[in-house]
């Protein structure tokens, strides 16, 4: 067993007092592995990532978040980032009015990156090099996701948290991004990915968790989750029960397409 990069231990968190969104969540990301967190709309996936980063003031209410032996509770998001936990948030968190280059430079504010690091990151995302002087808001959705990832990499993360990196992207772009994630992971980066789409989540992942209304309801190695009938039914859109007329319909639901 490899060591854990991130441990979330019995975390309860929410936005208003008495209204917990996460109700006792424990999960782990192992060194060098990709963990996937699945769940439908409103399950609390984003809330979990925000809690880890310290983006919700005074949260978690209970429980602990530990990164390589360091307790993250109560730390400011910028401090958590500087420790090496980097979040690419829902909506990507770009500065639409700043240029691509300025967006990248901001990643060097706390710790300057070297020219070599900069070149290495741009080699991974060649489109960005051509668009350096363009406003980030004018990039296509795929290019924006690339920029968000490039910025994250310039921060030299030990653990990358991704909130629905495939959201709103064409399948070809999604495949491209997943390839990049795969190669980053091969080079040793640990990743925690949040996805609504289980098929996508479990293609690049070692281990998976299923979050349902603020509680983890299922966890296991990715291949096992892929084959789990509950996951298949709920998150892969495959229906098992016979219809009232007795016909078996193996029709995928459009929800997850």
């Amino acid at each position: 067993m490899t060591a854990e990069v991130l441990s979330v231990l019995n975390v309860e968190a929410g936005y208003r007092k008495g209204l917990a969104v996460l109700r006792g969540v424990s999960l782990h990301v192992r060194e060098g592995q990709v963990a996937a967190l699945l769940g439908s709309n409103g399950a609390g996936k984003t809330t979990l990532l925000r809690t880890v980063m310290g983006l919700i003031p005074d949260q978690p209410e209970k429980g602990e978040v530990v990164f390589r032996g360091v307790r993250l509770n109560g730390k400011d998001p910028d401090a958590v980032t500087r420790l090496g936990v980097v979040l690419v948030p829902e909506g990507r968190g770009l500065f639409p009015e700043l240029t691509v280059e300025e967006n990248l430079q901001l990643a060097g504010y706390a710790r300057r990156y070297t020219g070599r690091e900069y070149e290495a990151v741009l080699d991974r995302f060649p489109v960005l090099r051509e668009r350096r002087w363009q406003q980030a808001g004018t990039l296509s959705g795929g290019e924006q996701q690339m920029l968000a990832l490039a910025r994250a990499l310039l921060l030299r993360p030990s653990l990358l948290l991704l909130d629905e990196p495939s959201l709103g992207l064409a399948p070809r772009v999604v495949a491209q991004i997943f390839d990049i994630l795969k190669s980053l992971n091969r080079e040793g980066l640990s990743i925690l990915r949040v996805e609504q789409n289980a098929r996508m989540a479990l293609t690049v992942a070692h281990y998976g968790y299923v979050l349902e209304a603020g509680r983890l309801v299922l966890e296991g190695p990715a291949e096992r989750l892929r084959d789990d009938p509950n996951v298949q039914e709920l998150y892969l859109g495959v229906q098992r029960e016979p219809s009232p007329k007795g016909f078996r319909r193996w029709r995928p639901k459009r929800r997850w397409a």
């Binding site: 980063m53 983006l55 003031p57 400011d76 998001p77 910028d78 401090a79 980032t81 500087r82 980097v86 979040l87 948030p89 968190g93 770009l94 500065f95 009015e97 700043l98 300025e102 430079q105 901001l106 990643a107 504010y109 706390a110 710790r111 910025r151 921060l155």
Partner: protein, 291 residues
């Protein structure tokens, strides 16, 4: 014609001071979403600090610098201790906080320095004049215009060309996203407040020789700066400069052609007219209601 030019020259000199005050107000508004009513009193405090040093016979330049730094430190400290901790505060409660701090500061200044007016020694004189064509420009007028423009360009370089400036723009646009890049948003905002304090105190030091120094000296210029900020657009730095210069010239022309007596009223007319006709100001972006 020369008369018109004369009004423009006087107006630009006054307007450059309004622009400095407006820049401070806009800088804070667009980054912290706070209307800082203590801005004027902070500036006055800076002038008093410099004044105290000068009357003790300390090096003049050093005293000015100490006054600027003092205003910067108090401004940043005010943000750190009172504004930042109020994380969930409404904008109304923040405005009230700044009003309270303004009262506290002016009370403090009355207590320490008294209410009688003081002559702030300044190397440029208001009575020594130069003639350019038919236009009469006093040394002080020319000096404040020059120093004002110098500070405005300095701020523009800081915001547009430096790392800190980039971080300031990022934090103003989206503090959360900036923090997720490791940018210490709190420290960057404190720096923004410090810069605003310097701009205000600089305006105060240019103004003090012309109007005499007392604890309420900045009351009127603060309102003018506020009007200029509204005119230019509360979230636009170039707007603050344009608004300040325009207001200065408009005021001087109004005083010359219409009435000196109601000159001060003009800025209120400007505020009301802008809010009615173009609430986003000259260079601001139109407001979008967030749903």
């Amino acid at each position: 014609m020369t008369l018109a030019l004369q009004y423009v020259a006087n107006g630009l000199a006054a307007g450059s001071l309004y622009a400095l005050v407006a820049l401070g107000i806009v800088l804070l508004y667009r980054s912290s979403r706070v209307l800082n009513f203590a801005h004027g009193d902070l500036a006055t405090l800076g002038v008093f600090l410099a004044f105290t040093g000068i009357t003790r016979g300390w090096r003049y330049g050093l005293c000015l610098a100490a006054g600027l730094l003092g205003a910067a430190a108090v401004s940043a400290g005010f943000y750190r201790l009172l504004i930042k901790p109020a994380r969930q505060a409404t904008s109304l409660s923040l405005v009230i906080t700044t009003l309270g701090f303004a009262l506290l500061l002016s009370g403090l200044m009355v207590w320490v320095w008294g209410t009688d007016t003081k002559v702030f020694p300044f190397p440029l004189s208001e009575t020594r004049v130069h003639r350019l064509g038919g236009v009469v420009v006093s040394e002080l007028t020319a000096g404040s215009l020059a120093v004002g423009l110098f500070l405005v360009s300095g701020l523009s370089v800081l915001v547009q060309k430096t790392r800190l400036g980039l971080a300031m723009r990022a934090v103003a646009q989206n503090p959360e996203a900036a923090q997720l890049l490791g940018v210490p948003a709190g420290r960057v905002l404190a720096a923004t407040w410090a810069v605003a304090g310097v701009l205000g105190a600089a305006a105060g030091m240019l103004l003090a020789p012309a109007v005499l120094l007392d604890p309420f000296m900045m009351l009127d210029p603060f309102l003018k700066g506020f009007a200029a900020a509204v005119l230019g657009g509360m979230d636009s730095l170039p707007g603050a400069v344009v608004g300040g210069l325009l207001l200065g010239v408009a005021e001087s022309a109004f005083a010359g052609y219409v009435s000196v007596k109601y000159k001060a009223t003009l800025s209120f007319v400007v505020i009301v007219a802008v809010l009615l006709a173009r609430p986003e100001g000259l260079l601001g972006r139109p407001f979008h209601r967030r749903v």
